[in-house]
């Protein structure tokens, strides 16, 4: 079901839509003012849980629950932090950038509420270095909010100092992994840390830290403004605790690729045909990647398998994957992940082998190289797929290819390993016949296309 919203996007494309004036004209900063002047920290986290905001960074962890992991009391004399993840580098993902550029004050206001709710006095926003405009807009918004007294020593007159700093990273994908981001923030090499300890125990500079995706934080003022329960109820998956609305992206082989704000509950088919204007050249769908390159590809013919009648997901049993509401749990039961919720469409005519090579090239290049299976395995995957495309491989090698992914799966320090292995396994399982054609010489790299018309 398509239910459009414009909480975050109402400022998009308007002249000076990113300014404090524009933001306040639409009711901005009311939520933060109310939270700081009328609510206690506990009330804020309790209310936040009701919003059922599932983390927008990929893993879909409930935001309110994460906030409540923060210690009640900061370690004696030590600070606690909010770290906002705006490293957005997952191929096929392009939502956070629009918020930073077009509605930066929602981020600032979200940071104020979140800091108060988790007991932090300082927030970092970790932005990829390439996003110059995003960085400028965030800094400008912080400056405006400071001048108004919404940030600083007494935001909204409350003696609860809040400061926000925009930090630009070196621009690597792995710095989006939350603990690598913290290392990078600290000036260290952007390598994921071992967990435990989790960031809420020892995060930035060893202090308790909440890491949230930028969109997660940006939607917080809306939830508090509406009332968190009411916010959640916008969603068709409210009962699955997947609430509210979010930015959906649709890209790849669609006529109108875009980012759009919708209540949770839209299906992939609606996103592709009604929002995206249909598949390029009115072709059939070869496959869809639901939320960034790390989420396993789905075939348009797949259906949901949820035979357990007691499961709340049973209602989707037997439904085509394109016709279920796009949510964290529905995509999990579909055998993939919602990820960043930006759907990439591959039309018939696309070469899945070339698509896999393209992805594996990315993972080979972006692996931090810390742990053996990911460092060596990602590069080996890429090498074999390239050989297959170049007609230099053999059936024997193809038959061993999944084994490389298997040896990465579950054996690495961070989820990058699974993010590499899972899509690789899905491409192999679902498009094996195409791989065979290259091995047998029935197709060559010259036949391989990523673009269609």
């Amino acid at each position: 079901m398509i239910k459009t919203c414009n909480h975050l996007t109402k400022h998009y494309g308007k002249p000076n839509g990113w300014s404090l004036d524009a933001y306040e004209r639409e009711g901005g900063y009311k939520a933060a003012r109310r939270v700081l002047t009328e609510m206690t920290r506990e009330q804020v986290t309790d209310e936040a849980k009701k919003a059922n905001i599932r983390g927008r960074g990929g893993a879909g962890f409930p935001m309110g629950v994460k906030w409540s992991f923060m210690p009640k009391q900061a370690p004696a004399g030590k600070p606690m932090y909010l770290a906002v993840n705006a490293d957005e580098s997952e191929p096929g993902t392009h939502k956070d950038r629009t918020i930073m550029e077009e509605n930066p004050h929602s981020v600032v206001e979200g940071c104020i509420i979140a800091c108060y709710g988790i007991g932090a006095n300082k927030a970092w926003i970790y932005v990829r270095d390439e996003l110059h405009l995003a960085r400028e807009r965030l800094w400008a918004a912080i400056k405006e909010a400071k001048q108004k007294g919404y940030l600083g020593a007494n935001p909204f007159g409350k003696a609860y100092p809040i400061d926000i700093v925009v930090h630009t990273g070196g621009g690597t994908y792995i710095c989006g992994e939350e603990t690598a981001m913290l290392n990078s923030l600290e000036g260290k090499r952007g390598e994921p840390r071992l967990k435990p300890p989790f960031p809420a125990q020892a995060g930035a500079f060893g202090m308790p830290t909440t890491v949230n995706n930028l969109e997660t934080i940006a939607i917080v003022p809306t939830a508090f403004e509406m009332g968190c329960d009411k916010f959640s109820q916008q969603s068709a998956l409210h009962d699955l605790k997947d609430g509210g609305c979010r930015l959906y992206g649709v890209n790849g082989h669609v006529k109108k690729p875009q980012v759009i704000e919708l209540a949770v509950g839209v299906t992939m088919r609606e996103l592709i045909y009604d929002i995206g204007g249909g598949v390029t050249g009115d072709r059939e769908i070869l496959g869809v990647i639901p939320g960034g390159s790390s989420t396993p590809v789905l075939l348009p013919t797949e259906t949901i398998h949820a035979p357990d009648e007691k499961s709340p997901l049973h209602r989707f049993h037997g439904v085509n994957v394109l016709d279920v509401p796009l949510g964290v749990d529905t995509m999990r039961i579909a055998g993939t992940m919602l990820g960043t919720c930006c759907v990439t469409v591959m039309a018939v005519g696309t070469c899945p082998v070339l698509a896999m090579e393209n992805l594996m090239q990315f993972y080979r290049h972006e692996s931090c190289g810390q742990c053996t299976p990911c460092r060596e395995g990602s590069a080996w995957l890429k090498r074999v797929v390239t050989k297959i495309l170049d007609g230099e491989s053999s059936m024997e090698e193809l038959n061993e290819l999944h084994d490389i992914a298997n040896s990465i799966m579950g054996n690495t320090i961070c989820a990058f390993g699974e993010g590499t292995a899972m899509p690789a396994m899905a491409f192999l399982k679902k498009y094996r016949k195409d791989f065979e054609k290259y091995v047998r010489g029935e197709k060559t790299r010259k036949d391989a296309r990523l673009t269609v018309t």
């Binding site: 090499r189 290049h365 190289g369 053996t372 299976p373 579950g410 054996n411 396994m425 399982k429």
Partner: protein, 532 residues
Amino acid sequence: MPSFKLDGKTIPFEPGESIIGAARKAGVEIPHYCWHPGLSAPANCRMCLVEIKPAAGQRPIQLDVLSLDPKTGEYKYQPKPKLQPACQYPAVDGQEVLSDSSTHVGDARKAVQELLLLNHPVDCPICDQSGECKLQDYWLEHQKTQKRMRDEPIHKPKAVVFGPTIVYDAERCVMCTRCIRFMEEVAKDPVLDMRERGNLNEISVAPGRQLDGNYTLMTEHVCPVGALTATDFRFKARVWFLRSVKSVCQGCATGCNAWLDYDPRTSSVYRYRPRENAEVNKFWMCDPGMLSYKRAHEGRVAEPRIAGKTTTVQRALESAKKHFDGVPRESIAIVFHARYSNEDNWALKELAITLLGTRMFYRSGGAPGTGDDILIHADKNSNTAGLNQLAPSARPFADLLADIKKGAVTHAIALGGATPGDPEADLAELRGLKSLVTISAHDGPLTKAAAVVLPATSWAEAGGTYTNAKGLRQISEKAIEPIGSSQPAWKVLAELGRVLGVEPSWSKLKDIRARLLAVEMPSQPDVSAQAE
């Protein structure tokens, strides 16, 4: 004490200990590259993955992997348990851990091995690590298959000079970061780091720096493979021809436990390697200490000398006797040496007191240097504490020089060559003696000033005990055969006694050890050190 089960075997542990650490103490090895008992655990090599059975009532964490039916080309998802690194995972009371007995663990180890060797040059014939390399050992234990990648491996820099002592080969490196962590955590000099990403990673030295200081050679020893090699040992020996004895470093008063590696075919010493001892040096040694193995061959007194001219032992002993003819025995000064074993110094004392009847005791030793708060002691003598215990009345070397000047000392018997002061100045003063008989392994002012020099074995050619600054008496074993005509100093002293007309009470090392234990040093020497 809490305990867990590893492949059915009960392993006790201290709370907070990792599975791998507790297993090691119990004598069970879980294969590993990156973990080192003396360093932090980055859990990056993934060789130590184990299967941990979920606690009662808990669901196992499972992951889907693919299996293929090659006949149909059909894949199927199959669950496998999530494995955990034993180096990072804390031991939990009552937990059941599967290592060698789990097929999933076996598969994971095999996979890690294959992946580590994927781009490895496998240039074992020209690699110094060959024979003591974890890649070789674990290939046999955990892989035993040919690697499936037949293509040209990735090439990376080779023979990169990291500094005066260490050479790096990026192609052989398994990126375990032990070297980085050693420099940061133990040497407190974070001069190494990793650069690049993915399988182009390599270890690099901080810009503007080289890998130098007093703790560089340890990086080679913590390196589980042949990526770091020591300039000093490069292309000198095949380790399987070398034999090792438990030795004690002679570099300073810390007395680090070491393996002294030598080639029995040529009776020559090749290197020192640290030997674990929790109370002394943990797992480490310093560079000057590790290079001090060279003293087994350098600066040695190999043959007896009379007035600087080489002679035979018999003639030298007769000449010594002549030098002391008519000299009242109680006026012969005795110079002990802090670089010689308790046994050697004891023999000298015994000769002096019971046989000669002199108590004119002085002491010598090498010059002090600088120390640090890691291992290195400012006292550069290996047995100062032992000497203090055996001959507390021995007066400082400066007093000896003063007494020579005054004419109060005219004749002396000395152990060792080195003196604590400026060698030239000390030599000039020592020349004031009418006669000096020196028993020494190494040349120094005391041998240069001597009328008669008798060659002694160094610590490498004879067993002995040395008491370190902490008061631990430690055994150092014999490695090579005596050089030239040298013999253990305690033996030479017995012969000297005999030509001076007295009958020594000791003829074997055993006798001296027993006497030391009974009277002077009533505790067993330390042999607690454990092999790594």
